[in-house]
Symmetry: C2
Subunit: 143 residues, 2 copies
DNA sequence: GAATACTATACCCGTAAAGTATAGTTTAGG
DNA sequence: CCTAAACTATACTTTACGGGTATAGTATTC
């Protein structure tokens, strides 16, 4: 029940780009350095974010990465999904092989977890990187 | 971002006991058989639930397991915590070693994930095993 | 006191997380 | 058009953990 390290790094990287400004190209080198992310691992992460349509990449001299759309249109959920695929609290929610034990179609655990999963997705979707960037600029609020 | 198999089994086991009735002793053998859980693995799981104060165990001939308190006082959250420890969406929320990158105390990612985690805990806590048991008895509702 | 049923540790194996390495492709600029 | 900069693709390594099994032990009932 935990996000993995790569996803956490991805949050920092996207926030970094959001702070630079939408469309502003930043090279991996500087993201890695300032966010303390191992360079090669960051590049791997960035490729997932590119595939997910969250950032754009620019190759060659003067290249780098930039947000593919405004920060207020990128949520935590978008990043989690780009990094880890669709969220699923329990594989039984998605793979019928794991849900046919004894109650088959009408399993109450299944139903309850479905609601939990929706709540989780909604919570993740309610935070945009514009909000987060604001949080940084506003200074310490120690939530 | 997924509950593990042991936790899923634990849900089934606790629900099984809830259906038997609070205080009603059921032996592991029959839980394992009816819920399709490997016997020895189930015993391991039950020990976590005992430690977590969710079920009581009875040794010796005629022994087994029973809910330690009424089903309406046991939530999905209780079981998750008994099985996996306190939920934490990101280790940075709990281990300062993982949160001091660049923004140190006032990290906006940290704050946002804190809210997500609260939402998740609340969603899990909103389902009791009395509710789930009702769902079973009510028959297929296909949520 | 023997059979039953849970307890405690410790072990095993496969897979995935986390990170590294090597080779390749695109682009800017001289 | 060649070179260096910067991302891409793939594959590999290492470690940890999930999922499960095995062995020996302890309590309880009859």
């Amino acid at each position: 029940m935990q996000l993995n390290q790569a996803t956490d790094y991805a949050f920092r990287a996207v926030l970094h780009l959001a702070l630079a400004g939408t469309g502003q190209v930043v090279e991996a080198q500087s993201i890695a350095r300032e966010q303390s992310i191992p360079m090669r691992f960051l590049l791997k992460i960035m490729r997932s974010l590119v595939r997910g349509g969250i950032v754009r990449s620019y190759r060659g001299v003067g290249g780098g990465f930039a947000l593919a759309r405004p920060a207020q249109e990128i949520t935590l959920l978008d990043v989690v999904q780009a990094m880890e695929g669709p969220i699923r609290v329990n594989r039984c929610l998605v793979d019928p092989r794991y849900c046919s034990r004894h109650w088959s179609q009408h399993c109450p655990v299944h139903q309850a977890l479905g609601q939990v999963q929706s709540a989780l997705a909604q919570a993740l979707a309610s935070h945009t990187f514009a909000d987060l960037a604001l949080g940084v600029r506003a200074g310490p609020t120690r939530g």
